[in-house]
């Protein structure tokens, strides 16, 4: 549950500015680059192109090609450059076009960025951000559709944030840039044009604060990134059927706000974890274990997981749509767990 000290997404209301997820990310980067000359962006097609998703459009006009730096198609190379730049006084933001390309940067991220502070006994720091994407159903097939955030969440030394809304996208990006550690921000590429309330002015969301996106009493949906909207839709359907679902978004995998997850589980007694990574050995398993461990005696049902099917993402839309959890699946599972008649 939220407390007054928390940074909580405002509900849409008259007079609150509404912008897209992409605009929120763009605004966060621009504000931080104005604030701190050490911040710069590098990646493929980040300058004039503003990335294929147009999230960075216009930044090169204000900050120039030195600070919004187009690179060759060399993911490991520019990720490595970011590590070295971060170790020597800069705050690079690496743009990794697709989350699938994490495979190409893993040594720089896992063996270099994540371990430098520890291996150096605290002498060196790597304050860098790597922003990338997750999410299927864009008809992009198996190498442009994966949700691999579990991989980076498994590595001590990395922080991992998963914004689900424009407000969180802005606030988490600003916190990540100011963080003295390597932070991976994974954005749902289908959400870039989604709109949400983002008030004018400074928004910094500390990493490690969950947000209760919808309050409820019968069941808790712990949902990440692209699955927050799925959980909210399911909660809407369930409300019409007389069941009250709470939707909790951890917002960051590392650090993880275990207290808020456990508190909600204790309140409702039933929990489904829903995440777009493959279900096996994934983020959903870790979150389910955290809840089971912290709220065991308050649970009325086993903690359930809903993740992507354990198959490579197929191209054919008919097949692809089968692989990702849907509001209908979640609704049915929740009704079953609550003992409601189907």
């Amino acid at each position: 549950m939220s407390t007054p000290s928390r940074t909580v997404e405002p509900r849409a209301a008259a007079g609150v500015r509404t912008i897209t997820f992409a605009q929120a990310v763009n605004e966060a980067l621009a504000e931080e680059m104005r604030r701190d000359p050490a911040v710069f962006i590098l990646g493929e097609d980040v300058a004039e192109a503003g990335t294929p998703f147009k999230v960075l459009s216009g930044l090169v006009d204000e900050f120039g090609p030195e600070r919004v730096r187009d690179t060759p198609i060399s993911e490991a190379g520019f990720a490595g450059l970011a590590v070295g730049a971060a170790m020597t006084g800069m705050r690079p933001v690496v743009d990794l076009m697709f989350g699938d390309f994490l495979t190409l940067v893993m040594d720089q991220l896992v063996n270099q960025a994540a371990k430098t502070h520890y291996m150096s006994g605290g002498k060196l720091k790597v304050p860098m951000v790597l922003r990338t994407t997750l999410g299927a159903t864009r008809r992009s097939a198996a190498q442009h559709s994966q949700s691999l955030h579990a991989w980076v969440s498994h590595v001590p030394g990395l922080k991992v944030a998963l914004p689900a809304t424009p407000y969180d996208a802005k606030g988490l990006m600003k916190a990540a840039i100011r963080d003295d550690n390597p932070v991976v921000i994974v954005e749902d590429k289908l959400s870039f044009q989604d709109k949400g309330p983002v008030p004018e002015g400074e928004i910094v969301i500390p990493l490690g604060q969950a947000d209760v996106k919808r309050e409820g009493t019968d069941i808790t949906f712990i949902a990440t990134s692209s699955m927050v909207v799925v959980a909210l839709r399911a909660a809407e359907t369930l409300a019409a059927q007389g069941l009250s679902a709470e939707v909790v978004d951890p917002r960051s995998m590392v650090p993880l706000d275990t207290a808020t997850l456990v508190e909600s589980a204790k309140k409702t007694g039933r929990v489904v974890v829903i995440d777009e990574g493959h279900q096996s050995y994934g983020v959903s398993a870790e979150l389910a274990a955290v809840v089971a461990d912290g709220a065991f005696y308050h649970l009325d049902a086993p903690v359930k997981r809903l993740g992507a099917m354990d198959v490579p993402v197929p191209f054919s839309p008919v097949l692809e749509d089968l692989t990702v959890p849907t509001p209908e699946q979640l609704t049915a599972l929740a009704r079953e767990m609550c003992g409601a008649r189907s």
């Binding site: 060399s74 190379g77 450059l81 590590v83 720089q108 502070h117 006994g121 605290g122």
Partner: protein, 345 residues
Amino acid sequence: MTGRSAASKTASKKRRGRRAALEEPSVDAARHLETYRQMVRIRVFEEHANDLYLTAKMPGLTHMYAGEEAVAVGVCDALRRDDYITSTHRGHGHCIAKGARLDLMFAELLGKAAGYNRGKGGSMHIADQENGNLGANAIVGGSAGIATGAALSARLRGTDQVVACFFGEGALGQGLLYEVMNMAQLWKLPVIYVCENNLYNEYTHFEETTAGTILDRPRAFGIHTAEVDGQDVMAVATVTAELVERARQGEGPSFLLAHTYRYYGHHVGDIQRDYYRSKDEEAHWRSERDPIALYGAWLQERDIATADELGTIEAEVRDEAEKAVAFGLDAPYPDEGEVTLHVYA
């Protein structure tokens, strides 16, 4: 080889504000003796590291730099303290040459809290940022990105710092190196890629793993190249001074190929080496191509130092190293609470 003659020609061009190349007549005896001392410190350090391993006092294992001293010392002679280096799994020599203390290094090798990195890095990860050493790296070629990024950082911060990226010829097999050399040349970054060709990728001769000609690789990017006898510390220092000057002037990266040899095996446990290199070959390098002996002879020929003076330096270094080993052995291990410290800054 460009070696001495070409390098000397460049060195004779007077440039204001730069450090004199080691070969120039203006360099005084004290600097020569300091260079000699640095090479001896590396040699003696490695002898102790080997002993600590063989007597089971050192956890894990280590990769010895003995035989290659002239490369690290020659390159670092041309660098300022605020210039950066990145190093390798065979990194003790780079670390010492860039200014590290032996006692804090031994403490690190022994996993002690007094070590450079509180015992958490060990032999393959010593970092000494106060002297510009961004760290040794246990991934072959893994620091090429870091070095190039530090060079980009120097540019963006508006400093004239230069970065030397040390790697063995084994790293020529890693794709990362070519990705970052491409960017370094595109953006004229102040980085010197120092390829220490000690002939062996672990247990395999480099000719079995390396197609074409090594220097054709950086040349394909238009990167300025140089080649040097890595057993000749003055030649290394002189050619590096030229490359550093280019980098400081904004003329971009360079690639220095240094021919050298490692006296020990790939690591301390690599004792039986006959199957990949002969004892005759090892004996030849030790007797004919030893960088410390060659430099010592040169210093005596020029009356810069007597045999006695060089002997005194060695005795002083042996004394320093013995005290440093004792410091490391006596130092306490980290408290158990350290295990969760420094995961995050």
